[in-house]
Amino acid sequence: MSNKILDAKVPEGVLETKWTKYRSTVPLVNPSNKRNIEIIVVGSGLAGSSAAATLAELGYKVKVFCFQDSPRRAHSIAAQGGINAAKNYQNDGDSTYRLFYDTIKGGDYRAREGNVYRLAEVSTYIIDQCVAQGVPFAREYGGLLSNRSFGGTQVQRTFYAAGQTGQQLLLGAYSALERQVGMGTVKMHARHEMLDVVNIDGKCRGIIARDLVTGKLERHFGHAVLLCTGGYGNVFFLSTNAMGSNVTAAWKAHKKGAFFGNPCYTQIHPTCIPVSGDHQSKLTLMSESLRNDGRIWVPIKQNDTRKPTDIPENERDYYLERRYPAFGNLVPRDVASRAAKERCDAGYGVGASKMAVYLDFSFNMDRYGKVEATKRGLVDPDAKTIRELGKEVVKEKYGNLFDMYKQITGEDPYEIPMRIYPAVHYTMGGLWVDYNLMTTVPGLYALGEANFSDHGANRLGASALMQGLADGYFVLPYTIGSYLSNEIRTQSISTDHEAFVEAEKAVKERLEKILSIKGSKTVDYFHKRLGKIMWDKCGMARDKEGLEWAIKEIQSIQREFWSDVRVLGDANEFNPELEKAGRVADFLELGELMCVDALNRNESCGGHFRTEYQTEDGEALRDDENFAFVSAWEYKDANQFELHKEELHYENIKIAQRSYK
């Protein structure tokens, strides 16, 4: 392996003024030239919609693509808990620096300082922008915005709209996007899937997309292409992601020269509804915000089969509060997930499968109930009245989540504790990008969850929405100037250019190949097998032996897929099974790279836990001497990847063993 050093192009100078200075010196494109520049945005989630709307407002010609039937349905819609911003509205000592610090520490010192500081800096504008659009954030009686706490922080900086924050933010960005569609500055292509990028003379110049309704392949030119295509958690088959979430766009870009950053950094979210059977198609998150008001516990006795409400207080182990008194139930996700796994593996798990822990609201319902009773002047209210009053408060904060839980499990979380278990949720890895959000292919950018930036080895709650909107509203529209200012003389390239013709031909052949196999196994069969390997060997705990085995096993599934998959129907019609097959084929290649990356990183950090590298009390043991770098993988050929490194330098934060005790 050669170890070429990558340049992230972070501007020189003091941390606090890097961005402001850079922003005011980055080359601009004048308005009349903007009208001739075409930009392709793939993805209409928070990152894509916000970027597309802003670029169109600035005067560029924009085309947007998404695979759902409407841009409003991008997976960002499902985000529940909230969005961070260093507003310090609660006067609890928050600041840009503190958000920056929390994010670097939360990411276990594996994120780039310059990017993270910029993220913290622009976070406050996001809230202003969203409120101006009419996003109905939660408010206090005085009319001011309300905040809650999320994991890995000791301040209240999370803005929210009940348990539907992602929905409200996305509908805000979507309305800005549709406004531009109405004005004719954005052309929207819904039910379209990008199936390749087109490079000409070393620069990205367009994409090949498939109209999912007619099956027709289309060529689209752009002076620049933005991939805002979300995360790849579905490589595990079961995850909290939407069914269509996929790696295809990023993977095609990877195969055309974009390096893939830290593919093995996966976030396993501690509070999800446990698996109930083989039929399960996806897992449902119970927002981290619930950890504000819920206490996590297991019985002190192993294999305790009593009903949770029959287990007395002194026979419960509030293990997070016990192990991490300073942060308690609000430790970061990687820590909380591992702690739950540890208890269940040791035989303290609950529920039929024994692979669950309790998330209990009774304590806080009573606390709220008492406050309410006092507010209403009730003297000596009985326990039942207190509980009822408390229930009302909890219902207002999390009603939709409680309803969702009840709908799925058939149990009422107001009466008995929720059963929860960790599930795959978010991917910190993604396309490697520099400070401008450009990949290693000139003119090809990656925004939102699709890129690797900002979260290091573990993302803090409520920071993905922040990053997606920061990238789209406030970062890329500036940084893209440094590239496009040199492109003003580039005329639109005809899509008859041989690069387009060839790319389309390759896409067509691949679709035909999939349809021609006519094998015996369904697409889901392969996806489930891959998912199980990934979960067992590249999930919450990883080791050398398991990863080596997984790589071989995945390679053999790849071969089996290409000789035995059965996909019916045609390429020139609406064919969801064919779409799925293409995505699973890409997941099979990505899964291998994730294992390769996990095997290469001989340390534990954040969500990447190698059992060989842990402290005496079971915490992740980093190796800063040898692994303080970003792994950026270059695709060489089938099953061949070359490692490049971006060294991480900490000039403003003292790198330390992460402690939440």
């Binding site: 916000s50 802003t54 407002e57 759902q68 039937d69 409407s70 841009p71 409003r72 349905r73 819609i77 499902a78 504008y125 202003d128 922008q129 969203c130 409120v131 101006a132 659009q133 009419g134 996003v135 109905p136 939660a138 408010r139 206090e140 005085g142 009319g143 001011l144 915005l145 009940a162 539907q164 929905q167 979507y174 309305s175 800005a176 406004r179 569609v181 929207m188 819904a190 309704v213 939407a242 069914m243 059977g277 039929h279 198609s281 996806k282 449902t284 969702m404 709908q407 799925i408 058939g410 509203y473 406030f474 369904t522 889901d524 059965r566 019916l568 129907g569 609406f574 969801p576 099974e577």
Partner: protein, 255 residues
């Protein structure tokens, strides 16, 4: 919790594309657990069909947790099925009994042409939003968020309107295929907030005009929309839209 498995008979609308003629086809399914979701039951059926060499049934879905608004099945004569205030993907098989026959159709409305089987084209909703369902504020124009004080009641009411997921069940439920509930939810959300007030007159006129262009029917206040809406969007929003609309028309330049 699991209570054994069920066998059911499904009558499903099959239609190759928007121009072909469709028909009901009958499929028996068995081994269905009560913990499965309705869409997971379709997954099981589709796997069986593929194994038998028959094409799977196309249906729209994505988040499978009631928020993206993509799923859209008309089940036993009701959009999103027999239970109130949930989407198709949130419907669980414990709501059915062993031996039941279940009829499944796509949304039926001329403004929502069928794409294939159970999937329809709802892009008309996007065009209605593009005609005015926004606040005209460019990125970077905003002042500090807490400079705008909004009474909690108004914020909550705006939020309850903004909860609409754009699924189209209201249209499918309405005998006139009217989109009034969907449109009113957006008009109402923005009319309740100071940020949206400025443009409220133009907004309501444009959105109602676009709704007519798209071929949705008239609202005759039957209320089936709200009763079937998975997010419980209230008829009060239609009343608010009407007030906005009439006051706009009184002063409008565009009559």
């Amino acid at each position: 919790m699991s209570e054994g498995t069920m066998s059911l008979t499904l009558k499903v609308w099959r239609q190759k594309n928007s121009t072909s003629k469709g028909e009901f086809k009958t499929y028996p399914v068995s081994g269905i657990s009560s913990d499965m979701s309705f869409l997971e039951m379709f997954d099981v059926l589709n796997e069986e069909l593929i194994t038998k060499g028959e094409e799977s049934i196309a249906f729209d879905h994505d988040c499978r947790e009631g928020i993206c608004g993509m799923c859209s099945m008309y089940i036993n004569g009701r959009p999103h099925g027999p239970k109130n205030a949930i989407t198709t993907c949130q419907l669980h098989m414990r709501s059915f009994k062993d031996g039941d026959t279940i009829t499944v159709e796509p949304w039926r409305a001329s403004a929502f042409p069928i794409v294939k089987d159970l999937a329809v084209n709802r892009s008309a909703f996007d065009r209605i939003i593009a005609s005015g369902g926004y606040v005209s504020v460019n990125t970077g124009n905003a002042k500090d968020a807490n400079d705008i004080l909004i009474p909690k009641e108004d914020a909550d009411e705006a939020f309850s309107a903004a909860a609409c997921i754009g699924c189209g069940a209201c249209v499918a439920a309405c005998k006139n295929a009217s989109a009034m509930l969907f449109v009113s939810a957006k008009v109402s959300q923005l009319a309740l907030l100071p940020q949206g007030k400025v443009e409220s007159q133009k907004r309501v006129e444009n959105m109602v005009a676009q709704m007519d262009v798209e071929g949705f029917g008239a609202c005759t206040n039957t209320g089936a929309c709200s009763a079937e809406c998975p997010k419980g969007i209230s008829l009060e929003h239609i009343a608010r839209l009407n007030r906005e609309y009439f006051s706009a028309k009184l002063t409008s330049n565009n009559v």
